[in-house]
Symmetry: D3
Subunit: 290 residues, 6 copies
């Protein structure tokens, strides 16, 4: 169950509103690298948690924190949109091309759909998509998904920091960057605690995989691959094998599929001209009605 | 530039076709944990690579390999669909409830849209989505995204392995599981080579982030957090700080937004009844037309 | 800023797990009628609020409440999935067709992707979509969007209540139904407070709309429309006009568009055979390069 | 069955084409507030109607009308695109920054994909999405969904009206605004006819909901909630209860989920280190294979 | 502008409702091969038409016809859902496995979201997607898109015809199949009228394309390609060249990209270890701030 | 199985980087007319092929070629982004409005998400969507889908060619245009080989369709249709009938649906006021629980 406080987790300050920056900030709200994604990812992982309770509790805490990050960024979008254009301004553009750049570069929905408010979208107006939420039920896979989310997320926010020239915004973003630093460390700390999580999942018996292919770098390109890279020789990172470098060759068959069932109307009459050479050899009754 | 061989990378064998398993295999083709995703992710990372060429080359090789994995799984789907139902079979269901389970559980598009062929979709028929392709331009963030893809991917394939009782399918899947083992190790090997990639990005000056919040676990839930977890005390994983545990408190303001511009028609008349207490205090001309 | 408590807002009890019901419950989590939608909708409306603060505060409270509803439903999904099938069970189906119905009707991703956990998806596996979040910046439009969300939402939950035969689930759902009752009333209460919100927006001068068409029911079908319905005669609901019934007729032109620019390569040569009768008459230089 | 007339429902006039406005108009075609949505929503509600025939007929009429509104807006888009840029124009931009604003702000697909024609998309190029069509089978829920669509729709069109400085466009839009006025009134008129539709659905016995929570405003934020608001005291809008204000407290349990099935490979060995404190207590055989 | 008649274009009869067939019919409503797609595609092509008016008029007619096909199929869905299950029926399944197949195979939203009505979705519940609407502004490209839509569409409906054993449904579908026959012929007739539309677009000067590659079949696989196929020798179909068969070889460079801008934080320090071998050689100032 | 060469299929040259053109090129990568679509479409058709092996082989070859086209375009995007803006540049815009047009018109994700690299998206940032992949299992339907893809694709690339003023880009695009010429011819050549593919599918007995409607142009609009068009008289293109022109009339019933099941809570009490005139007449027990 959840509670809220109307104060923000950290001050959000915009010294000079910029509607183009409002659009860019949306990536950190509703983009795949954004805060809605991590908020939901951590909460679903918490709610689905079937392992040690301490990870459920930790995920619940941090998922709760992330709701407040969406709030901060939504506020930043709203503040950057104050004073944004609401009508065609040919004369103003002629006098100041910056006005034209803003009218060209802002998200039109920030006026016509939300009246200077944030949207659950990315910087190109793509809506947030629930398929991005990773909650696999494997604790190590989840932690790596979380590290990945925080590394692309922190990278995004540092670029937003570089783009803006607004001191208020830089201050606000520097807080979010710090929290992403923590969260990267936090998920990696869990991976350390798990001790030997690799290969993930670590509880599938490796005897059941084709171990002759488990540590070989497959060369399938004429782009040169060094003999002595970390991934072509020496012990594997999981400590279960030795890396090698292998020229890959096809080991499988040319697939032969049975003809399509007649009810599927494939436009190819059996015994007809086109059918003279059929793809399949395993044709014995397979395509009859069950 | 690319070439192909009509032989499969590894044999694909289906001893007893099962349309429900065909549906489940789609997750490994077109799902977020699937092979289209990793194929495109590695290729886009290669094509966008602006760092050391050896990573461009390595990514190109492995991206090329993954195309063949989609091919294997598509073939597995096609073979599992041979003999699948093409018409309503009330009598057959009555005699054998397994027929009913298959008719209930198969993807209808596997007959009506593709005539017993694979689709670029997941196990629920959701189309593959390009937003899943992560290519950040930050080598470490990309590697973590790749590790994450391979850990959720290998987890998925081991579950498919458990679900099926078909020896041919188990053999085919055990090859894919082995390759996922390699790829997890491969991306982690690059991270080892990068030496000190953390926090990602590692070339944003940490002096510019609010370092007082960079290594603190924020407690925002009454779920108990241990004092002596790996993520609440001791050196941070990136080696740049010390973990601590902090009761989080709001540090920011209650946001006050300016009134909406009149042209946005907010249904709230200025000075009117509802407007008696306005949200914003910074109203000085902000909402006038530019 | 947000806080959480590890206890649920209301008990979630599942007496007899049912994976098919787990799938159906997903509609109330990630569907357009579901709880993620209302949670985000109320919070974005709060964060974007530029009107009276009391509505910002009220929205923040209720948005906070809704997070806990997602939590309850996610828990209900997880509990319904305990003991769900993890392998092909031909023999079991033959003995008990209910097993076949469950294997046919459950969401395969509930095992292969989430290991018996909830997903940010609807009952057919469609991911939650951020485009559903309505925050218009018009207080009355937002309130009607909220009423609409709660009416379709409560309707959904009552149907889930009818479908299940599990006493625990019925108890849990009866709480959510009660809360939807409150929320319908709550948004309608705001509309009462706004007094004269219609037509929305009420601050666009009606003199600027074509008022001769503002209260006429247009008949464009041979399906009979009664002369004396509430919407064909008498005062309009907004009190600004009188309903009437009108046989609609086209008042506009047959559109004539200029030829496509040559650079667009329309496959229709000017002056050529096909072009003898062109669509447009306003051709004077319009399609030249600027 | 449907018929058409090549004349438009109302004149569409563009005095001075503006490709940026063409882009903005797309929101009213393919956006969630747009005309494709209401057209399909009313038609599907008509076709699915299982209640009184007069509502089926009314919905069919108005759904038919809306097709013509898409037609008007598509024509407006096409006319606004006449003369739009088809090549890079560095020199022209230097001489007139308005050209640059247009090249920056127009939808590139309006030239490269549709050759100066309308698309089934919103103003950011997001495709129309069928999930927006609400047809619940509950007459009151459908009517509220329709009111919501028309209030956000009319709000959108008034903002487009404000943005444009083209007299022709203002005339065209003033017709659409008038029709939205009518449609808001029309759906509200049905709700009046239904007399006591609340709470929706009104035919679920309220005795089966937890009525002690049906009319209580839950306080879950430290943002102050007034004691004497319309939604915190007095009779509820549906007339079935009395509003109250309640400090919300968790009434449910801390969820305890059974361990994941071994076949799901959760990376947590039972009895192992990490597993020492398990999340679940109800472990008796639950995760065994069925 | 549009009109409607409450009668259906052709009788829709369901002798024995089948909820699983209702689900399958959805593919013909909201799938990529379905009627919403062709309806919108023809109407947008008509509204965007800048060529001969006779094609605008023809498209408008046929687009209008297609609205009625959606209506027929929506009615077929509604009729197939009458009597569909609304609650868990363990006992009934035990007695009759067909009940289980239906409960497993039906779309749950057909009860919980639409109360036995049609949805704007395909057979797996994917919403209709506006990106499928093709209106290129090139008359020949549009006609081929229309032929493609009708060939996949007629194929789909013939498979639905095969699947059902309901005489009423077979009668209804046989009408739709006939109309698809007409529409295939109709679009091909336009292509005949256009005389020499190939290659599309036919008004791009072929002298500006690399004609040495315009009629060569590129061999990039070891799968054998015959020397004497229609596409490897003889005159090309467009009559502008001679087919040939060519072993493809890379003609381009190994791409060398400039280093990423420092503001992008690529995690690769210039001059650092990893950077010793850079990808790019064109580094002269390119990545400096503009 | 697949191989790659680090060289490009054809040189990619950018003489003067242009971030706006980088955005436009994305349409040819991740748009519905783009190269990811044809690559996957041809490969899935090959992998699903159940007809003559020569078409499987041909599709595999050409699908393989298309991977290299994505690579070329991704490289073109990356080169066009070199030197693109990474920070707000008010002063530079004031001095040169072209800078403002670029900042307004570029895709912000090209900096903040991919650091000057290509994305799996179209020119408006919409992600590639797997639903676009057509593989019907009917050889003729697939070929028409391929022709359609190549005609819209070649049209797109010719427009990109017109838009750019960069000689390098024009050279690169002229190669892709030539390959699209070949592919159009190639798929049409297969259709020639199939001899009598129409109507597609050609193996559904036309006696089972309502042939009285198979070759009639239905007039459903007052837009005039000529008596002597290719599609209103004379032999049909498939050679199986004679075109005619027919005033369409409704042949079907006014649909009457049974009342909704009570468990669906339609808000309409049976026998109640609103229900006095019900839609359905076939009410006999249909809506009872099964």
């Amino acid at each position: 169950m959840f509670y809220s406080d109307p104060h923000l987790a950290y001050p959000v300050r915009v010294d000079k509103p910029n509607p183009v920056f409002a659009r860019m900030l949306q990536q950190a709200i509703g983009g795949i690298e954004g805060e809605i994604r991590v908020m939901m990812q951590y909460l679903f992982q918490a709610w689905n948690s079937r392992g040690p309770v301490k990870y459920r509790d930790m995920l619940l805490n941090t998922g709760t924190e992330e709701i407040g990050h969406i709030e901060m960024l939504a506020t930043a979008v709203a503040l950057n949109l104050e004073g944004a254009p609401t009508h065609m301004q040919e004369q103003a553009i002629t006098q100041n091309p910056v006005v034209g750049a803003i009218m060209g570069g802002m998200n039109p929905r920030h006026f016509i759909s939300s009246a200077m408010g944030a949207l659950a979208e990315d910087s190109n107006g793509n809506p947030f998509n629930g398929s991005w939420i990773v909650s696999t039920g494997n604790i190590a896979a989840d932690m790596y998904a979380n590290v990945a989310a925080e590394t692309s997320g922190r990278t995004l926010v540092t670029r937003l920091y570089e783009w803006t020239d607004d001191p208020g915004m830089k201050d606000t973003l520097s807080f979010l960057i710090a929290r992403d630093t923590m969260h990267q460390n936090q998920w990696l700390a869990v991976l350390e605690e798990l001790e030997q999580p690799l290969p993930v999942p670590n509880d599938f018996p490796q005897a059941q995989e084709k171990t002759e292919f488990s540590y070989s770098y497959f060369v399938q390109s004429s782009a040169p691959i060094p003999d002595h890279a970390r991934f072509t020789e020496g012990p594997s990172v999981d400590g279960h094998g030795q890396f090698s470098k292998v020229e890959a060759k096809p080991l499988g068959q040319i697939p032969t599929l049975a003809p399509a069932p007649l009810e599927a109307h494939p436009n190819v009459q059996p015994g007809g001209k086109g059918q003279a050479v059929t793809a399949g050899t395993r044709t014995g009754g397979k395509h009859k009605k069950v």
